[in-house]
């Protein structure tokens, strides 16, 4: 691995370009275009999505508890989160005296950047994907572990007992559930033959019965459910919210964070919720496909892409809403239950899905003759 870096890194970057100018121009143009796109994405898509998710959480929680929830700022209280953000700008960020200052300040940024980085592989339409990374799905998993490191950094740097206890739970839980998450995501990869999220989405055109959910039945259906639950654990959402169990650990890893640094964690959490739901919807729920035969987003130009983006956002928000619904439905699990569920149920079931899907590809798929 490292020799490759030594030799090819130095030799590869400076020379070997196919014809002078061409590659350089592509690089330059793509930097400028990428910059514009990413700015638009970060400011107009990712942040509003996270803000909307926070509003949705508060309104839904209100509805489920037979109260109203925030409804004053803006229509239906939609601007409440923005108002809160502005208010939090004026709140002082305290740093405990015993904290490790550099790590304490770096942690929110690491978490925030990881949550945003995952959006790079989420396709919004047939032509609208920030990047079409060939290892897209593995990239999401990789960034997920990077985010966990940011959380550990926060808890460790705080030097607070509650934060540290929460951190240990986060680390163990996120790490354990990364396995079923990875294996259940393998099932659509296996049936599609690619890890590129955009390509997997493109294969689910036509009616809703072509969605990934029904591939290699029932392997992908089960894998979707497993992925969703493992994602819940990864996101530290109820019923896996014991890392920040307020009744025992105050607030978990972000106990010591206040003001803007706290709200950055908060924003990152909801951004991650949305993007993981988005990835799940692209793998199994057709992504930007409408699911209505005849309404093919791919052939409709800009409007098709817009419709596709609405589909992705809608499906992802639906999954986010389910996460919120589960929060007020299920009691919190104990640590030993969380671990047992992962290693003894999720892991073998996801492996069984994998084997079943593999058998389906080699036996049933050739008989159908189609591309699944």
């Amino acid at each position: 691995m490292i020799p490759l870096l030594l030799a090819a890194g130095i030799g590869g970057v400076e020379g070997d370009a196919p014809g002078p100018g061409v590659l350089e121009t592509i690089w330059g143009i793509s930097v400028v275009r990428g910059l514009a796109w990413s700015l638009v994405a970060a400011l107009l898509v990712i942040t509003p999505m996270a803000l909307f998710a926070i509003w949705l959480e508060r309104r839904l929680s209100g509805k489920m508890q037979a109260r109203i929830g925030p409804n004053r700022v803006g229509p239906e209280g939609l601007l409440q989160t923005l108002a809160d953000g502005v208010k939090l700008l004026g709140k002082e960020s305290l740093v405990p005296t015993q904290a490790d200052r550099p790590l304490f300040h770096a942690a929110p940024a690491v978490v925030f950047m990881s949550a945003f980085a995952m959006y790079a592989v989420l396709p919004w339409g047939p032509d609208w994907a920030p990047t079409s990374l060939a290892v897209g799905l593995l990239f999401v998993l990789a960034i997920g572990s990077l985010e966990a490191i940011g959380v550990i950094m926060a808890g460790w740097a705080s030097n607070n007992k509650w934060a540290l206890l929460g951190t240990m739970r986060v680390a163990a839980q996120v790490v354990a559930y990364e396995i079923p998450l990875g294996i259940s995501a393998l099932v659509p990869v296996l049936t599609a033959g690619t890890m590129n999220v955009q390509e997997i989405t493109a294969m689910q055109g036509g009616g809703a019965w072509n969605w990934g959910l029904w591939w290699a039945f029932p392997a992908n259906l089960v894998a979707f459910v497993l992925f969703f639950w493992a994602a819940l654990a990864n996101l530290k959402r109820a019923p896996f919210d014991l890392p920040e169990a307020e009744s025992e650990l105050v607030a978990g890893f972000h106990t010591e964070y206040s003001g803007m640094s706290f709200s950055i964690f908060f924003l990152a959490e909801y951004a991650a919720m949305f993007v993981l739901s988005g990835v799940a919807s692209c793998l199994w729920l057709g992504g930007w496909n409408t699911g209505i035969p005849g309404v093919d987003v791919a052939g409709m130009g800009v409007w098709g892409n817009l419709l596709g983006a609405a589909m992705v956002a809608g499906k992802a928000m639906l999954l986010v809403a389910v996460m919120m619904w589960l929060r007020w439905t299920l009691p919190r699990l104990r640590v030993d239950q969380v671990m047992r569920l992962c290693w003894k149920f999720f892991l073998p079931i996801s492996l069984a899905c994998l084997v079943w899907a593999a058998a389906w590809v080699s036996v049933v798929k050739p008989m159908l003759g189609g591309n699944g």
Partner: protein, 140 residues
């Protein structure tokens, strides 16, 4: 452009930019917040107890970083082992799901057999770990 070691820029540049912009956004929010707090607070409260770590109102006696149960370490070890397995399975899955031409002469049956051998050996390990009770969080 697989023939060139320089990566296709369309793939990685937006990725890098998203990360940088996220970092920039976080930095801007934090610094604006710092400036706003500096300007709006009439008097900075200073007292030794104000910046102590959150506790139940008692003075902090010990460092929070005490020793932890070895169980966490075992979970991390198991994770690495299974994680490497998952990573190995991804190239296999990509090859497996492609059309016959893309598979380059490798038969599906053969690939399936390879999966079964690979998973079978690991299943034995999983069984051993389960039988040993390593995954029992409460068992001491």
């Amino acid at each position: 452009m697989p023939e060139s070691p320089v990566p296709p820029p369309d793939v990685y540049v937006p990725l890098l930019l998203v990360v940088l912009i996220a970092g920039g956004l976080a930095a801007v929010l934090l610094s604006v917040s710092t400036v706003v707090t500096k300007l709006t607070m009439r008097r900075r409260l200073r007292s030794p107890t104000r910046n102590t770590p959150y506790e139940c109102g008692l003075p902090i006696l010990t460092d929070a970083r005490t020793r932890f149960s070895v169980k966490f370490y075992i979970v991390a070890m198991l994770f690495i082992l299974f994680d490497i397995e998952v990573v190995f399975l991804y190239p296999w899955a990509v090859i497996y799901g492609r059309g016959d031409s893309a598979r380059g002469g490798l038969g599906l049956g053969f690939l399936f057999l390879e999966l079964l051998v690979f998973l079978g050996i690991l299943f034995l390990g999983w069984l051993y770990v389960v039988r040993k009770g390593v995954l029992e969080w409460q068992a001491e």
